[in-house]
């Protein structure tokens, strides 16, 4: 087609006229609004998840003492708090913020499209997600309280209310998780289709920014892995409510089948949230080291390798459950294999930094912290991936510290890196750098002070699922309790510093310096739109002439070369 494709001509019915408050902010089909809805819902759920961590960590450090703002934490409360903390942080914080918020906001802008391919489906995705969050929150207030069978919901604990003591909460938890999965299936279809079909003229596969690739691969992985768990969730719901025995060994069922169903989804899920975070880190470190991404294609191939291998590692979660030892060997090998592409990716990022003209802005600090902290998570994972060592570490705080060293960089550090980098584009204002750096150090230092002691406690044999360690003489030595108090105190400091972020966010929205189109002198297409971009993003859709990482190209006056700038 020879005619110039413009935003006004191409995005049809959702482009026109002045919109009411409701159609603009509540029932919007605009990808940016949907992205921000996901982000603010994720932040809200993060506050709930953080409060839960505060309550149960206080119980562990000061057992039996009333927690300010919560009250006495009973054993049933404790189970519900840890279960829902894990569930919320993974499914209602990491997923909506990293995949849905950044995916929705950035994919059309970065590929040069005016909106998602299916805008109404996109709106439906958020509405189903919001419903899932409401169902989960409601589950805290039903008789018996929120589900208390751990975020992995292993039967028979999860299947029988005489064990978990939360009959209604456990069923509502399953409904909420099921709805959340439906929301992300709908959203994932949009991400994949938009990135594949709606790219600007001239944007070839290797010109796509890394975060877009990562979210697309993550969406494919999610779609391919979630089916078994959705089926499992229906079976568990039926076990709970209509007397089936899919997971009841006394009546011929198999509780280990649930573990297979859960982790066949659950382990790829780790990479579903990891990939978007590594993608945005790639985009940030290139901008603030003014260097081309080292080995773009290698990064891409490591992403594909990670995606494929992630489907072959799930049973390393069942080494102690008693799986066939021959299979344990196989899964040990595959688990150790998957560390190779991820390690390669981290090395590539370090190689990108090498020799660069590095500026330590707030987003760059977060990106660097992501690499450093995630590497600790990765290295400690090697101990757990090897079946021999895992026998000893299984269900201890070593495991807990390990996955917090992976998930915290992904969900929290990744989010802060992304929001501090794209805030100027989203809201048209710059965030305050000083407050940003105070928040950064006030988060990263306490984070390490929380979880390094938990590695030590885990290695000393501290079991994960204990409400009050004073009942166990072997686990209540003074030095062990001191470390618990240290971890809890560090958590309190870290939570307090999050108020700096909230203040910075609100203050910058209100009083922040005006951002302009491209405050970071970045190459990718979103920085060619107004800040914030209008509905439809551009008056005329951009054309792409090169890849996204042409920084510091010799012979050019400027050290960046936007993708849409003709040669």
């Amino acid at each position: 087609m020879a005619e110039t494709l413009t935003a006004a001509s191409s995005h049809g019915e959702h482009a026109h006229g002045e919109m009411s408050f409701w159609s603009k902010y509540v029932f919007s089909t605009d990808h940016k609004v949907v992205g921000l809805q996901y982000m603010f819902t994720g932040i809200f759920m993060g506050l709930i998840g953080g409060f839960m961590a505060y309550a149960f960590r206080m119980q562990l450090a000061f057992p039996g003492v009333e927690v300010p703002g919560y009250g006495l934490v009973s054993p049933v409360d404790y189970n519900a708090l840890v279960t829902n903390h894990g569930t919320i942080m993974i499914f209602w914080v990491a997923m909506p913020v990293l995949v849905a918020a950044f995916g929705n906001y950035l994919i059309p802008l970065m590929v040069g499209a005016d909106d998602m391919v299916f805008p109404r489906l996109n709106r439906l995705s958020y509405q189903v997600f919001l419903l899932s969050a409401i169902v989960l929150i409601c589950s805290f207030f039903v008789e018996g309280g929120g589900f208390g069978g751990a975020w992995t919901a292993y039967p028979p604990l999860s299947a029988q209310s005489q064990y978990n003591l939360t009959p209604l909460g456990s069923s509502l938890w399953l409904v909420a998780v099921g709805l959340e999965f439906v929301a992300f299936l709908i959203g994932g279809i949009n991400f994949i289709t938009t990135a594949m079909n709606s790219r600007a003229p001239g944007m070839k596969a290797y010109d796509i920014p890394m975060i877009v690739w990562m979210i697309v691969v993550a969406s494919i992985m999610f779609m391919a892995s979630v089916g078994p768990l959705l089926a499992g969730a229906v079976m568990l719901f039926m076990d709970q409510n209509i007397g089936t025995a899919f997971f009841d060994p006394d009546r011929g069922g198999d509780p280990i089948l649930w573990q297979h169903l859960f982790w066949f989804f659950g382990h790829p899920e780790v990479y579903v949230v990891l990939l978007p975070a590594t993608g945005l880190v790639a985009d940030i470190i290139t901008v603030f080291s003014r260097k081309k991404l080292f080995a773009y294609r290698t990064v891409l191939y490591t992403v594909f390798a990670t995606g494929v291998l992630s489907f072959t590692v799930w049973a390393h979660h069942q080494f102690v459950a008693g799986i066939d030892p021959r299979m344990a060997h196989v899964f040990t090998v595959t688990t150790l294999l998957i560390s190779i592409p991820i390690a390669e990716m981290m090395f590539v990022y370090i190689a990108t930094l090498y020799g660069g003209s590095i500026t330590l802005t707030t987003p760059m600090l977060w990106a660097l912290a992501f690499i450093a902290e995630f590497l600790i998570g990765g290295v400690t994972g090697v101990f757990l991936g090897a079946s021999g060592a895992d026998i000893y570490f299984h269900d201890t705080y070593f495991v807990l510290a390990h996955f917090h060293y992976t998930f915290f960089p992904i969900a929290i550090i990744g989010f802060y890196a992304g929001i501090s980098f794209w805030f100027p584009k989203m809201f048209g204002k710059m965030m305050n750098e000083t407050l940003g750096k105070i928040h950064f150090w006030g988060t990263v230092i306490p984070f390490n002070l929380i979880f390094i002691p938990l590695f030590v406690l885990g290695a000393s044999g501290q079991h994960r699922r204990i409400y009050d360690f004073s009942h166990f003489p072997n686990l209540s030595a003074p030095w062990q309790q001191d470390l618990r108090i240290l971890a809890t105190s560090a958590l309190l400091v870290m939570l307090a510093f999050q108020s700096v972020f909230l203040v910075n966010f609100v203050w910058s929205l209100w009083k922040g310096r005006k951002a302009g189109k491209n405050p970071w002198k970045s190459n990718t297409l979103e920085w060619t739109a107004e800040s914030p971009p209008p509905h439809g993003n551009w008056s005329e859709l951009p054309t792409v002439y090169r890849g996204p990482y042409e920084y510091g190209v010799p012979g050019r006056d400027s050290d960046y070369w936007p993708q849409n700038e003709p040669n």
């Binding site: 391919a224 892995s225 078994p228 060994p249 006394d250 009546r251 011929g252 069922g253 198999d254 509780p255 280990i256 089948l257 297979h260 066949f264 489907f311 072959t312 799930w314 049973a315 069942q318 102690v320 459950a321 008693g322 799986i323 066939d324 030892p325 021959r326 299979m327 899964f331």
Partner: protein, 117 residues
Amino acid sequence: MSEEHMHHPNYLKIWAMLVGLLVVSVAGAMVGIRVVTLITAFGVACVQAYLVAKNCMHIGAARRFVPYLVATALVLMLLFFSGAAPDVMKPAGVNWVKPAWQEAAVEHDVSLHEARH
């Protein structure tokens, strides 16, 4: 747009066929003959899945990706089954037993023993 003028199947007719097949599958189970139940349950389910996939999933519009999607789903299914089967198809494992399976095995052995003598 050419897609808007594409020929659509008669959805009402397909829906009626699906309902008819549902009746057949339920009625088949009520006969009480094991083979008939299996054929009506799984056979009818296959036909129903075919009807839905062929007529209601717009597969014709995305023909290029369909073989890859189907192949991926089959590979993942085989992978999952081969990984899970060594555990879930056994009456007992390293640290666990399924009492109902063991009881069933004992009963089976007893009836076999009685039949031989």
